[in-house]
């Protein structure tokens, strides 16, 4: 993060816009939005210096529900758009909101390269293991036997493991949160936004419409039994062997963020053509 001006007096409500969410009643994303606004207030972010970027899907409706600047772009490309914005405007705080379809399927390639590039921004993926907006198709994190109209009898495919992928690709901060605990999620988001480089936060956010079974998540989640590690190999091993409901900051690294200087070298434009001269 690097907001020019902080607003310590802001309250969560100051970050909540008047646009009414279109989410289903009971959707986990309401609590994610709540965690966003609480985290922004805790950090005292100036809304005009904060940009929330998203792609397409239920998760991606978040920007318009905040009072920050926002960009609701095309499906799967939010990380690329946010990268261009942050590199060109390093003074802004940039947060990207995505979902498991938007971020891991159509946007999968950008996920790898955003982790690798390590631009200073925070990537929040609301994972409900289903495509909600197109009514219930399987996503890369859906279980192999989940029966849908598009995949009768299930896909038979193993779910994607985003946190390990993030670690292997070079993400500088990896955490898992649960939407049902907005205060804890807000605390994780605060740390993620503060942490230099690319921070990845997966938020388990139930889809009560197409995955009513996910209501059970609240009884399955638990705090990570051990503290944060700075060793990516150790973090990867823990994540690969945990039950998927381990909540907390799971990895924190110290890679230097990618940020080219955006200040000129006082070169006259006329000097650029010198090489052209015969």
């Amino acid at each position: 993060m690097s907001a020019i001006e902080l607003r310590p007096t802001c309250k969560p409500a100051d970050y909540k816009s008047e646009v009414h969410p279109i989410w289903c009643p009971g959707c986990g994303d309401y609590h994610v939005l709540m965690a966003f606004t609480r985290a922004f207030a805790q950090l005292g972010l100036a809304p005009e210096n904060t940009v929330v970027v998203s792609g397409i899907g239920c998760s991606s409706r978040v920007p318009a529900y905040t009072t920050c600047y926002g960009f609701h772009g095309v499906h799967g490309r939010s990380l690329a758009l946010a990268t261009g914005l942050k590199v060109a405007r390093p003074d802004l705080t940039v947060i990207v909101a995505s979902g498991d379809g938007d971020g891991y399927s159509i946007g999968g390639n950008h996920f790898l390269h955003a982790c690798r590039r390590n631009v200073d921004m925070t990537y929040v993926v609301m994972d409900n293991r289903v495509y909600g907006m197109t009514k219930g198709q399987p996503s890369p994190t859906t279980e192999p036997d989940f029966d849908t109209a598009l995949s009768p009898g299930g896909t038979g495919l193993s779910p994607f493991h985003p946190l390990v992928i993030a670690l292997a690709s070079g993400a500088n901060f990896v955490a898992r949160a649960f939407s049902g605990s907005p205060n804890e999620t807000a605390s994780i988001l605060v740390e993620a936004i503060r942490h230099p480089g690319f921070s990845f936060v997966e938020i388990l956010s139930p889809c009560v419409t197409f995955r009513p079974d996910e209501r059970e998540w609240k009884s399955l989640v638990h705090s990570a039994p051990v503290g944060v590690t700075h060793d990516p190999a150790k973090a990867a091993r823990r994540i690969m062997t945990d039950d998927g409901f381990n909540i907390g900051i799971l990895y924190s690294g110290d890679r230097r963020p990618y940020q080219p200087r955006m200040e000129g070298q006082n070169v006259d434009l006329a000097d650029l053509e010198k090489d052209f001269e015969l």
Partner: protein
């Protein structure tokens, strides 16, 4: 010896043999000596071991296209030359220098009736420690053209300095050996280049269209570029990468074209004028996000250096067949800008103007360059400075409720940039109302479509929309890199007393029906010239403009450029 206005030279060799280097040195030396000239390259897809030829045209006055045949062909070897036989046409008067150990002449050259002289180029190179055949070829060309050694030597020294003194020495020796062979064998071209038209006192530029495109972008205000490498656009990126940081900008290599276009949308949303450069396959990937930029009214510039398509096509060779995707490739109704530079020098103007228009109108601009113009190198007069820079209307008044997409009289709404307090809005690809909030209402949808169309249609583009030259009832209409060939054909025809008009639109979208009608006032016959198998330009003209009753089309796919003589013949056939 008779004088010729232009002499064309092809130097051929397997990829890696250095034919292109020899051609570049020849062009640079001849231009340093005051002549005018152009070099295009024709290469296969292989990096080494494929076919490569430098096609050089030297002339007494500026030239913007190749000639119909080559007066001199030098084959370091002919191993893969049959692959582009059609591009290296010889005439009965031509001289072919062939290494006897360089393989068989391509049939097309053999059939031409050209004089063939065998010179053991490779053997001569071997006799020089560190010698390379391409410098022998350069010496032969220089000897035949009457270019003095002391004109070539500084070019060799300048361009090869980085490779060490031994390389420079070997190259000079090769040059000398080639020139000596011409004298010893008593070779001549049967013609010599007419003295050059005097050039101005200002230093001329020796540049490619891709380089002038890069400079035009920076002059227009571009400070952020993101792109994925692709032939034949990469030189734009490789010019911008070291030059953008000098002016406080940056170029990011994106993971793919989808990322590249979204990165520039992000940068531009943040207030930094942004550009990407690509070719047809990349443009295809960018179409969805181009629609996003249109809907969210974020200015961006996309340079498409066209190559032969569809699909992978011929990556190294030119065609004008991306017009359809540039004009019609968006889903939904998405008014935007399409521009096309007409020469190497015009790449600077058109790109700079494109940045200016995109920023002013908050809309994406697609600039259709092509492989010919992008990768051709020519000596040109330094283009005049123009005042066009990005002038985005940013919001200043946030006292009331800010409406990002307010329906203003001109259709352009003042834009808030992150950092401006009170201007917060969410840019959206969803249909939105004036505030930017998503809506599916018929009236909001229509109002925003109206506004986006109005801002483009109401803008005064001025005389830059097209090149209009000459008079007469017969007009030739061309676009992009064929403008130069059409102009040369018309100049030739006009010498025989005919009046022919040239019309070459630089602004392809939005269309300019009134100006077009004015430009064609009194025209009874129209010859459409284009490098597209499907005659995309002709169909585009039919769709948007009133054309005279008599229309003929001279079209052909790439990669064989349409030559001035072909246009000339088409005019003459029609005039007689």
């Amino acid at each position: 010896m008779p004088e010729a206005d232009s002499i064309s030279i092809a130097i051929l060799g397997s990829g890696g043999a250095g034919a292109l280097t020899a051609g570049n040195f020849l062009l640079e030396a001849a231009c340093a000596a005051g002549w005018h000239g152009l070099l295009t390259r024709t290469v296969g897809p292989q990096i080494r071991g494929g076919e490569a030829a430098a096609l050089v045209r030297l002339a007494s006055s500026p030239v913007e296209c190749l000639s119909e045949h080559f007066d001199l062909l030098i084959g370091i070897d002919w191993l893969n030359a049959h692959r582009f036989g059609a591009e290296i046409e010889a005439a009965p008067h031509s001289l072919v220098i062939s290494d006897p150990r360089g393989g068989d002449l391509p049939p097309v050259v053999g059939r031409s009736g050209a004089r063939v002289v065998e010179v053991p180029i490779k053997e001569m190179a071997k006799a020089i420690p560190g010698g390379r055949p391409n410098m022998i070829a350069l010496g032969i060309a220089a000897g035949l053209l009457g270019l003095a050694e002391d004109i070539l030597t500084p070019v060799i020294e300048k361009r090869l300095a980085g490779k060490g003194a031994a390389t420079v020495e070997a190259s000079r020796a090769g040059l000398k050996a080639g020139m000596t062979a011409v004298a010893d064998l008593d070779l001549d071209l049967g013609r010599r280049l007419a003295p050059a038209e005097p050039v101005g006192s200002a230093k001329r530029w020796l540049v490619s269209g891709n380089e002038t495109t890069g400079l035009g972008a920076i002059r227009g205000g571009i400070r952020f570029a993101a792109a994925y490498p692709i032939t034949p656009a990469s030189e734009i990126l490789e010019w911008l990468a070291p030059n953008l940081p000098k002016v406080g900008g940056v170029l990011l290599q994106a993971e793919d074209e989808l990322a590249a276009i979204n990165m520039i949308i992000g940068a531009s949303y943040g207030g930094t004028p942004a550009l990407t450069a690509t070719s047809g396959p990349g443009l295809s990937l960018m179409m969805e996000a181009l629609g996003l930029a249109t809907a969210s009214e974020i200015p961006i510039v996309v340079i498409d250096v066209m190559r032969a398509g569809p699909s992978t096509g011929i990556p190294t060779k030119s065609e004008q067949a991306d017009l359809n995707i540039a004009v019609y490739g968006f889903h939904g109704d998405a008014p935007h800008l399409v521009l096309a530079p007409q020469s190497i020098g015009d790449c600077l103007f058109t790109t700079q103007w494109g940045v200016h228009l995109a920023e002013t109108l908050q809309v994406p601009a697609i600039v259709l360059s092509d492989q010919f113009t992008g990768q051709a190198v020519a000596a040109i007069d330094r283009p005049a400075d123009i005042a066009f820079v990005g002038q985005r209307t940013t919001a200043v008044d946030f006292s009331g409720t800010y409406k990002r997409y307010a329906a203003t009289a001109g259709g352009v709404s003042p834009m808030a940039i992150p950092g401006m307090r009170g201007g917060q809005y969410t840019a959206d690809g969803l249909t939105h109302n004036e505030h930017g909030n998503p809506t599916s209402s018929e009236s909001d949808h229509r109002a925003q479509l109206d506004k986006r169309l109005a801002k483009l249609e109401q803008f005064a583009y001025g005389d830059h929309w097209a090149t209009i030259e000459g008079d007469g009832e017969l007009a030739v209409i061309a676009w992009g890199s064929l403008t130069g060939a059409a102009r040369e054909a018309i100049q030739r025809v006009c010498r025989s007393g005919l009046d022919i008009r040239l019309l070459a639109p630089r602004l392809l979208l939005p269309v300019q029906p009134e100006r077009f009608a004015g430009a064609l006032a009194g025209v009874k016959r129209l010859l459409v010239v284009e490098q597209s198998h499907g005659a995309q330009f002709h169909r585009y003209l039919r769709a948007h403009y009133d054309l005279p009753e008599d229309v003929r089309v001279l079209n052909r796919p790439g990669p064989l450029p349409i030559k001035p003589s072909e246009i000339e013949q088409a005019i003459m056939r029609w005039s007689s």
